[in-house]
């Protein structure tokens, strides 16, 4: 699915959060949006999944304007994983994942056996089949994030939008979640992910979008756009890009400041 964004502008009250963004994202790739706090990453993702209506500009999925699509049709194509999810009641994991089948249900319907089978397969795809009967209020942060990804997968979408899927996760879980997303992309689902850590972005992404203060300042392959100059512009700090033994792997290390 090709995502076309043209002159996208969004404001919270009168404060601009996205400034005239124009970009085209190809299908079948893992694209990471990298940027500091307040750069507009979450706002951009929410505009992409119709949770926010832009002040100006338009967004098209495969040349179809997203705001002309019916909500159910849109939800059957786009899966969204939120940044924050506060469990309210102790539901079973499988019921939470089955909620991803809602776009396929009528108003009075409940998920069928086939819907639950799809939910089990989605859990299998993220390697969490054994969590199905657990209560999702008892899961760890990483497990909960994977369950929410499974729910988005149960929608059988063409594209996944994930808002900081690695936030609040430990060192291992960060890369485990990105590895899972990468494996889903290899199976044909496109993914747009927002991320704070440049190392996570570089290690797993096909393309990287650099955002600062509501603007896209660079878009391209990690090798091309993530370097010392762009990191200086993005985070206003000096970094050193270190090539590791595997030439495809790089590590972005901050240059430590003299602390007096």
């Amino acid at each position: 699915m090709i995502i076309t964004v043209e002159s996208l502008t969004f404001c919270y009250d009168s404060i601009p959060a996205l400034r005239n963004i124009s970009i085209e994202i190809s299908g079948g790739e893992l694209v990471t949006i990298l940027g500091p706090n307040g750069s507009g990453k979450t706002t951009f993702l929410k505009c992409l999944c119709r949770l926010l209506k832009p002040k100006a500009g338009y967004i098209c999925f495969d040349k179809q304007p997203i705001w002309r699509m019916k909500p159910k049709c849109f939800a059957q194509q786009v899966g969204y994983v939120p940044q924050i999810h506060s469990p309210s009641f102790p539901y079973r994991v499988i019921d939470v994942v089955a909620s991803g089948r809602t776009p396929y249900l009528s108003a009075l319907a409940t998920p069928s056996k086939e819907d639950y089978e799809i939910a089990y397969q989605a859990l299998e795809a993220v390697g969490c089949r054994e969590l199905a009967e657990r209560l999702y209020t008892q899961l760890s942060g990483g497990e909960l994030r994977l369950v929410l990804i499974a729910r988005a997968l149960a929608q059988q979408p063409k594209i996944l939008l994930l808002d900081e899927p690695t936030s609040h996760l430990d060192f291992k879980n960060k890369f485990m979640v990105m590895h899972t997303i990468k494996s889903l992309v290899k199976k044909g689902v496109s993914a747009v992910v927002s991320e704070h850590d440049p190392n996570v972005a570089v290690a797993s992404s096909d393309k990287v979008i650099l955002m600062k203060e509501g603007n896209v300042i660079a878009y391209g392959k990690p090798d091309e756009v993530v370097n010392e100059e762009t990191m200086k512009i993005l985070y206003d700090m000096h970094v050193e890009v270190i090539s590791l033994t595997n030439p495809q792997l790089k590590f972005i290390a901050p240059k430590m400041l003299n602390i007096q």
Binding site: L51, P71, A75, H85, P90, T102, Q155
Partner: protein, 310 residues
């Protein structure tokens, strides 16, 4: 955790209300044995003879038992529903308070003025309370759970003030009637009350049970429900109105018995968990059972009847 076997739970949820109904009919100032009840029904249906206990069972105890079951079922289901869509276990308390005060205002207004029937007036005021709550909650543009809860507090306070005024200005001979209504008046229920409240209560209950998957989706969060293709505001309004109409209809007939809407859903969760497909139907059964048992105790535990609200 809890009692989760499907068939055992289902059996209990079907049998428990029936047992509680039987208990309710049998206990009282003149205790009956359970075996007399089928006999009375058979004689009534075949028109064989007038049994001495027929008046007691069919015109005093049975309407009260049916109303208690309907009331408990309504409050159980609507309590669980409102907990889910407003994502708080406390909202049912406010719902009860709003409808208590509004119905109280309506009924006592008509009681004092004697212009229109108490039930019609109480129901009209309940609808007014629902309308005001939903209207005020839209002031900031969105119909979020927080705005509904806050609007409910405002409307509740408004009607509480009016109700206090009514009680202060009431004639002394009417005060006991007012207190009796506030305490729940299942003991004054006739078949007219049951027939008056049943249609709307059943519509409301059936409506929310059919929409139980949407209720579950609303409990997961607005953003996520929207991202899954739901019109969150519209569906929240529909469910809230259905639940409120059901509660209004039973409160109009039988006064205020509010704790059921809080306790029944929690007990149900202990039994069947939070399974969205089973919680609401199970709340219906447990709510009815709970109130039937409580009212049976209220009318038999002491030498005079204790109001079931207490």
């Amino acid at each position: 955790m809890g009692f989760r076997s499907n068939s055992a739970s289902f059996l209990l949820l079907v049998i428990a209300p029936l047992l509680a109904l039987t208990l309710h009919i049998c206990v009282g100032k003149y205790p009956l044995t359970p075996t007399i009840i089928p006999t009375l029904f058979i004689e009534k249906l075949s028109g064989v003879s007038e049994h001495a206990l027929e008046q007691l069972v069919f015109f005093i105890r049975l309407p009260r038992a049916v109303m208690a079951a309907l009331f408990g079922a309504t409050m159980g289901v609507t309590g669980a529903t409102l907990q889910c869509i407003l994502k708080t276990p406390c909202k049912p308390i406010h719902t009860r308070h709003i409808l208590w005060c509004s119905c109280g205002c309506g009924s006592f207004t008509s009681f004092n003025l004697g212009v229109i029937s108490t039930e019609v007036s109480a129901f009209a005021f309940a609808l007014l309370a629902i309308f005001l709550t939903l209207t005020i909650s839209r002031v900031r543009g969105s119909l979020s759970p927080v705005s509904i809860v806050l609007a409910g507090i405002i409307v509740s306070a408004l009607f509480q003030g009016v109700l206090t005024l009514i009680q202060i200005t009431a004639q002394p001979e009417n005060v006991s009637a007012i207190v009796g209504w506030i305490s729940g008046r299942l003991n004054a229920v006739s078949w007219n009350h049951v027939l008056l409240s049943m249609p709307l209560a059943l519509v409301g209950i059936l409506g929310v049970i059919l929409l139980r998957w949407r209720v579950f989706m609303l409990s997961l969060g607005d953003e996520e429900a929207k991202a899954l293709g739901m019109n969150v505001e519209r569906e929240r309004v529909v469910v809230t109105v259905l639940a409120s109409l059901a509660v209004s209809s039973v409160v109009t007939a039988a006064g205020i018995i509010g704790w059921v809407c809080l306790i029944a859903p929690h007990l149900t969760r202990l039994m069947v968990g939070s399974d969205p497909k089973r919680l609401l139907p199970a709340s219906l059964s447990l709510g009815a059972t709970f109130l039937l048992v409580a009212d049976a105790l209220a009318k038999s535990i002491w030498s005079y009847e204790i109001p079931v609200e207490f």
